[in-house]
Symmetry: D2
Subunit: 138 residues, 4 copies
Amino acid sequence: MPRMTRDDLDQFIQQRFPEAHGNCEIIAVGDGTLEAVMPFRPEFLRPGGTISGPALMGLADVVTYYLVLAMIGPVELAVTTSLNINFMRKPLPGPVRAVARLLKLGKQLAIAEVHMTSVSSDAIVAQATVTYSIPPGS
Amino acid sequence: MPRMTRDDLDQFIQQRFPEAHGNCEIIAVGDGTLEAVMPFRPEFLRPGGTISGPALMGLADVVTYYLVLAMIGPVELAVTTSLNINFMRKPLPGPVRAVARLLKLGKQLAIAEVHMTSVSSDAIVAQATVTYSIPPGS
Amino acid sequence: MPRMTRDDLDQFIQQRFPEAHGNCEIIAVGDGTLEAVMPFRPEFLRPGGTISGPALMGLADVVTYYLVLAMIGPVELAVTTSLNINFMRKPLPGPVRAVARLLKLGKQLAIAEVHMTSVSSDAIVAQATVTYSIPPGS
Amino acid sequence: MPRMTRDDLDQFIQQRFPEAHGNCEIIAVGDGTLEAVMPFRPEFLRPGGTISGPALMGLADVVTYYLVLAMIGPVELAVTTSLNINFMRKPLPGPVRAVARLLKLGKQLAIAEVHMTSVSSDAIVAQATVTYSIPPGS
């Protein structure tokens, strides 16, 4: 079961990462899952009216970090060790929903799968697999 | 051989992506290779004094885009289809050098390998493999 | 909806790939999903009593191929373009179940996510993301 | 510098993994690099006259294992934790050369990049990034 609720997480992020707080709104935290929405910002737009790849990469990375935090408690120093992302469809120029699911939560590594969709559609726009390293003693 | 020189590319980026222009300085363009430097910005810093993963992901993505442009000419609509990145060492809080090498340049897909180092060291901080889709008729 | 049933697929594989037929038994075909079991073979064993990584990679690859066949019909020449696999737990020395889910089925590319478990447990031993290229006109 | 020479490695593999010994011939071991050749076998062939993806995945995996052994000494229990492979060109139906280069050799993880070519050509047929976990105390 998660060690932090949605509100715990939200408060932790607001205190420690105030500049990141507005970039990704946590919607729900479950047992090994986290759902969030990245609000749209005009600087995400790329030629062709789509959202930039790096914005989606950053979203996959941060929702995995939040999911790891939710599960192990407030450990600031967890770091990404690898990320694999596939882009499938052009996202609409609006907010993007991400759902992260833990595949493994070990002592040293956590691995999650992230599915991203435009909030107005169920079609997956990008899928990522993200690995975090957990510091010893956490 | 490349179809755009370093200066051609620099001018193209300044005209079409003025907001991106200062984020990644192209150092050299070779036959199937491109070297660039991402200047340091304080917002890249993460707890522990290291540079954020998403900043390096964005760097890997953009240098591959610039390399594809250099090789096929100014085609704005090439899009990332997948990116795999491994983080190996904590980058120092300074500028990051990226060297991208084309592994394949086909009609539909281009694939490059990107090695990233702190400019003051040769140790690889991150490695990425990036695939771009090239629009038909380019 | 799938164009081939479990039995259609089984017959197609037996005819065209008789040497592969016994290596992976198709259990069920759904709309965008396929479940299969790889029987245990002693040559899969590695030091420590676990199943070799390449056996799981081959399983992820073949179940994606079968899923693509099920969805688009008997197209022998679909080929793998990329595969990303994460190993999470040591599989038990027994049969391995794989469940593949399509994330995208386009004209040129199909992408699937594959979860592998020992048949006697629900814990994921490996997860893969596999991309196939579909020949034009299929 | 490597702790095992080409001949040390060859003898170790012949003793501990006799069934694997003939599948991949080590050509040279350098400082952080290893070159090997996988002899052709008819069962590698796939429709269209090309070599199966899983054969190349297995090659990428085993050359990384041999490179890790060469660098840290004979540690049987190193295991693959992730592998990412991109297929670029159809390999000719003949032997395949693989060159593995270490990107990181830490206490817990080793990461290598592997480039594969047909022995009769320099064009890369597949590229892989492979991560091994190193058991504590090795």
